[in-house]
Structure formats: structure tokens, C-alpha cells
Symmetry: C2
């Protein structure tokens, strides 16, 4: 069985500003979204998609402080059986003229296809009591704590 999706828009990065540019027909589906501070963006790792990468299941030492081998489904690697990304972004503004959502940031490249957008709901998305493996417990404990954290000391694989 194969499942097919049709992108609703693309990520645009211009002069350090981050947007989702929606195809015009989908823009009305954002009605009311501007009242939420954060959204989940579901996008396609198009730059890492190949038959080979979809059949690569165990990584060698992907995290500098982690174990020798980690499965791709135990990581956020872009290389995975179905290269889907989920990014939580701050929704800075909604531009009705340009049918764009202005984001605080998104860890995707310019031109990346966007598959879905959902409002961030703490009741569904925010876990109070999280347990992580010992080797990554020093990572930031929320999105806002990311600022200034040096991720280059953590990853050996391309960051999402």
C-alpha cells in the first residue's frame, strides 16, 4: 500500500526571514490559525529522499555522545523509511495578501514542500514528564531553551 500526498505550499527563506507560502487555494484553510502562538509544520525531507535512504535503518554513531549504533526511528535523522519531518515553529504573522505564514524559524531549506500545518495544542503535544537516554539528558528542556545551545557538539548527521 502506498499513500500519496500533495504539498500545500513551500518553505521560503528570504534575507533570514522564514515563511510558509501556501498555494492560494489552501489559504482559506488557515482561518483562525493566527490566534495560536505556535504551529506544527509537517514537511517532506525532499533533499534526503531516495530509494537507498528509505532503506537505511541503523546509523553508525550518529550522536557524538551517544551509543555506537542508533536506529533511524530512534533519531530525528532526515534519512528514514518515510522522510517526513515535524517541526514546531512560532507563528509570527499571517499575511493574507501573499498567502504566507511568517515563522520564527524552521529547520528546513528554501523550497521545501509542506504537507500539513496544525495548531500546537499542549493537551496533545506537550509532555510534562519526559525520560530521555542518559547521553542526551543535557539537551534543552523546551524549544525556548534552544537559543545558544551548541548542536554542533551533538550531531554527526545532518540536523533536521
Amino acid at each position: 500500500m502506498l499513500v500519496t500526498f500533495n504539498p500545500i505550499g513551500t518553505v521560503k527563506i528570504e534575507d533570514g526571514w522564514y515563511y510558509i507560502e501556501l498555494k492560494e487555494k489552501f489559504f482559506e484553510a488557515t482561518l483562525g490559525l493566527d490566534e495560536f502562538s505556535h504551529i506544527q509544520v509537517i514537511w517532506w525531507f525532499n533533499l534526503y529522499d531516495s530509494e537507498e535512504s528509505r532503506n537505511y535503518f541503523v546509523m553508525d554513531k550518529p550522536y557524538k555522545k551517544g551509543p555506537e549504533k542508533v536506529g533511524v526511528l530512534a533519531s530525528r535523522s532526515p534519512i528514514r523509511p518515510n522522510p517526513i519531518a515535524v517541526t514546531v515553529s512560532r507563528l509570527a504573522a499571517v499575511d493574507k495578501q501573499k498567502h504566507r505564514l511568517e515563522l520564527g524559524y524552521i529547520d528546513a531549506e528554501d523550497g521545501t514542500p509542506v504537507l500539513d500545518i496544525k495548531p500546537y495544542h499542549p493537551s496533545e503535544d506537550k509532555v510534562r514528564d519526559v525520560v530521555m537516554p542518559a547521553w542526551c539528558r543535557h539537551w534543552p528542556d523546551c524549544i525556548e531553551a534552544n537559543e545558544g545551545f551548541d548542536w554542533s557538539k551533538e550531531f554527526n548527521f545532518p540536523a533536521e
Copy 2:
């Protein structure tokens, strides 16, 4: 442009227990996942997928206490342009013999196709300071606070 995904497994519900049963070849990709308390499950709203539902963009009064009209991308409705679901579940156990992940709970039906699994990372997934519209600010402020909350008083559409 169309994007195609191949499910890695299915949701199984047996006697009130919730599982993801992975296709055997993908199971090794979960190596190390058992050290995380929570996972993101990306699945396909197969029961709500049709050409018609993918072209339905604005809902009439989907939330009992909300506005008269809400866009599907401003909701977690299963009816949306690309019917992708993201559920955060507690990972209760990993069964290597049956290549199953036992979950605390998932809001999907038995037989639902699963597209991807990621470890829940607070640094990427947990927003400390969230703003919601006034009509839903009384919703639980984290997943653990859901217990006992009466969602039937909130929704007019099928819950994710």
C-alpha cells in the same frame, strides 16, 4: 508534485491495549528507541481520506465553545488537505519477538497505517510559553493533564 509514502506498520488495538506492529524489515530501525519515554507517531487518517475531504477547507462551528467557522489547518480535524496525524504516545514497552511497540494510548483505530515514528525530544517538541485562542485556553496544559477531561464538551467533529 505528489509525494508517496509506504507505511512501516499498523496500529493494533487488542483488549484495550495499544500497539504499533511494525513490518519486520523496519524493526531494526527502532534500535535505542526503548530508552525514550514518549514517541511521536505519524500516521495516516485512512478512514477520513477521500477526494472530497481533501478539498474541504473551512468547518462550520467545529468546537462547541469556538467561533462559527474555523479553517481545517487551524484545527486537528482528520479532514484536511493531506490527512496526516501526529500523536504523542507513551512508549510502554518494545517487544522484539512480535516487533511491536506497546503504547500507553493512541487516538487511532485498529488497522491504521503508521508512516513514521520519532523519539519525543523536548528541545524540538515542547513549547514552554504557548498562546491559544481564548475559547480553548481551558484545555489541559499537557498530555498528562488529559485524564478526566471531558472532550465531548469541546468537539463537534470526529476527534483525532
